[in-house]
């Protein structure tokens, strides 16, 4: 069952998987962009981004645009690597079962 071991627990949720997918192809994304794309509530999104930050998969940058606070998210190097491994594991599982 080594294949299942490669499945990353951090990505074992639709929203966390979604956040990583978006950050893989974008240099960065702000809170509203993630919210619109994933169709989730503020609190829900915040808790999932926090979970990903805790394992150092994403980088959170707080800044101001004019007077408005703006939070920018980007994928870290280790996050990108972990995500790639996760995708490879998914592919392997699907291939094995065919």
């Amino acid at each position: 069952m080594s294949l299942i071991n490669n499945i990353n627990k951090a990505f074992d949720h639709r929203i966390r998987l979604g956040i990583m997918s978006i950050l893989m192809v974008n240099e960065y994304a702000d809170f509203n962009m993630l919210k619109e794309l994933l169709e989730v509530t503020d609190g829900n999104l915040a808790s999932h981004t926090k979970a990903l930050e805790k394992v150092d998969y994403i980088i959170i940058e707080k800044q101001f645009i004019g007077r408005k606070p703006n939070t920018r998210y980007s994928a870290s190097k280790s996050g990108r690597l972990a995500f790639k491994k996760h995708i490879e594991a998914l592919e392997q599982i699907i291939k094995k079962s065919e």
Partner: protein, 204 residues
């Protein structure tokens, strides 16, 4: 998790990657209409030059000014049609018309296009109008190739086609008009029809 869940994960990943980085609601129909406007504009200009200007184009004559007016009309009508039909399609797809992906698309499309436009105006003001058709084709082609990274990848091929036509037009300046008609008229219609049936009709 079952295999179906994993497959669903993968399709969800793909979908989000596309949705967040590409603006995909471009309308094929607006391409077809832009091509038709260009053909009509080209036909009117051709008729004017042959019947009122003895087949040659004098730079300060009214025929030349009318031709420039026709050209701007074709461009403006194409842009308006494009915006209207794309907005409609974006609404249908549940895609925002003015979000990060469409902004990125427009900026990357405009950089080569505006450069070419300014260059064209400089060239025209220096009375070197022989390369005008070629320049329009080349810079429009480059704009399309640049924009294709942020939209339907298919636009890239229209861009390549326009660049090649533009280079031929530069090589054969006497036929610039015909290359322009093929590039902006015929090619828009052909690619527009393909896009219409391939993307607009098919449910993604």
């Amino acid at each position: 998790m079952s295999n179906e869940d994993y497959l669903k994960d993968i399709s969800e990943i793909k979908n989000l990657m596309n949705k967040s980085s590409r603006f995909i609601s471009l309308s094929g129909l607006s391409g077809i209409l832009a091509g038709i406007y260009a053909l009509i504009g080209g036909a009117v200009a051709y008729w004017l030059v042959n019947n009122h200007s003895y087949g040659t184009l004098l730079l300060d004559g009214w025929v030349f000014r009318t031709c420039l007016l026709i050209l701007s009309l074709v461009a403006i009508l194409s842009i308006i049609t494009g915006i209207l039909l794309t907005t409609k399609k974006a609404k249908k797809n549940g895609e925002k018309i003015w979000d990060i992906s469409s902004k990125r698309l427009i900026i990357n499309f405009l950089i080569p296009l505006v450069t070419g436009g300014i260059y064209l105006l400089i060239i025209l003001s220096q009375q070197k109008y022989g390369q005008a058709g070629a320049l329009m084709l080349i810079f429009y082609g480059l704009a399309l190739v640049n924009a294709s990274k942020y939209s339907l990848g298919y636009i890239r091929y229209l861009g390549y086609t326009e660049i090649v036509l533009g280079l031929f037009a530069a090589f054969l300046p006497g036929y610039g008009f015909w290359f322009w008609v093929v590039g902006f008229g015929v090619m828009h219609i052909i690619y527009g029809i393909y896009m219409h049936f391939y993307y607009d009709k098919k449910k993604p």
